[in-house]
Symmetry: none
């Protein structure tokens, strides 16, 4: 389920640098050394995002982006444009022509990865399941684990879903019924108060790891996860 990232870049050292970093970030890099080559790749598999060099031999980045935007199958693919030119005009033109973000060389790989995550998160949040961390409490959706100080804490399936839901929606109050809908699914004909019990169990698990007030009761309204 890793996101496919197409990299279009003619300088192989940069191409490899990017590919390596994306791989390490858990993405699946697909390499293309020219727009024409990339075009063929796109015809086979629609990538989840494209990292596109501005200056390319043959068809350049802008043209390629235009082509993608003109085709209904590809027009929504997020594009991050790379360029060595740092002037504003190009940035504006790039964004106009359909780039969703823009990075000037030389760039830090870390920043590229961060921006890619941001874009992917916007379009297909299910593809980025980074661990969520609140006050040292780490919930990692991909490994289905909750850890504190690198030590896993024991937690039941429903408690996990609950905690995941809460951590994703930090600081917002949810009524028991909203929680039922989100965790159990709409079909549920389950008692409101079941939520209370699971909240209790979750609190207990968290308390054993030293987290005392992460889940707050908001009388008359529901529950809220918050570190404040």
């Amino acid at each position: 389920m890793a996101a496919n990232i197409l990299i279009v870049e003619d300088e192989s050292s940069i191409l490899e640098l990017i590919a390596l970093n994306l791989h390490q970030a858990g993405f699946n890099p697909i390499r293309a050394i020219s727009a024409e080559y990339a075009d063929n790749i796109v015809k086979e598999t629609i990538p989840d995002l494209i990292v596109l060099d501005w200056m390319l031999p043959g068809m350049n980045g802008i043209e390629f982006a235009k082509r993608l935007r003109a085709n209904s199958a590809t027009k929504l693919i997020p594009i991050i444009m790379l360029t060595a030119k740092s002037d504003e005009d190009n940035k504006i033109e790039g964004l106009n022509e359909g780039a969703d973000d823009y990075l000037t060389k030389p760039f830090s790989p870390r920043e590229l990865v961060a921006r890619i995550k941001a874009l992917i998160r916007r379009r297909s949040p299910e593809l980025v399941n980074d661990p969520i961390i609140v006050e040292g409490l780490v919930l990692d959706p991909s490994s289905h684990r909750v850890q504190v100080n690198n030590k896993s804490i024991n937690i039941g399936p429903t408690e996990f879903k609950l905690l995941h839901f809460f951590m994703k929606n930090n600081n917002r109050v949810y009524s028991r019924n909203q929680i039922l809908d989100k965790i159990w699914g709409d079909k549920s004909v389950i008692d409101d108060r079941t939520v209370d019990v699971h909240i209790k169990r979750l609190r207990e698990s968290l308390k054993q790891s030293g987290y005392d007030k992460l889940i707050q009761t908001v009388r008359g309204a529901g529950y809220r996860f918050s570190n404040e």
Copy 2:
């Protein structure tokens, strides 16, 4: 009491993108992958707003909008039309056929949310969930908190509702009976004077945070929340 937003969109990635963003903005997204499906949903619950894709398999967006406009129960629901076509003709046709706003793909989720808020605010201002700030007093409906200088102040459920109501209706005088209707609901067979007591309790909470005269008594008329 979050606003229900019906999203009618056949591409699931876009559907999810919109749903996620609406959820995070405090709305309650309802998903429909076709106009026919949406039609059934509308029969069950009237949404507060509809985000409607122009191109849909089966019945398309325009036709669906027409249907809604033809039915007195649904003709006032605000509709935001989404389209991949960027030409003006469609825009005009769309607006003529009953769309209240119009967004061309690809669009930024942030903008969609902004437009939705604008439309909802126009039709039902009470459904927009933004924090309300008066003289440093912050009431945030989504986290159900009242804060001063980033410090939460303690407040009971009824006091919260009261304060929320007052802050939304700054500077306006309400009689005890009006307040009873708004806060307790029509069913109330409750004594007028109960309002006085809750006003007292609210004043007390506010006073402890340094707000002394926010709620004013208007003799013979009722109460007013005002920072003047």
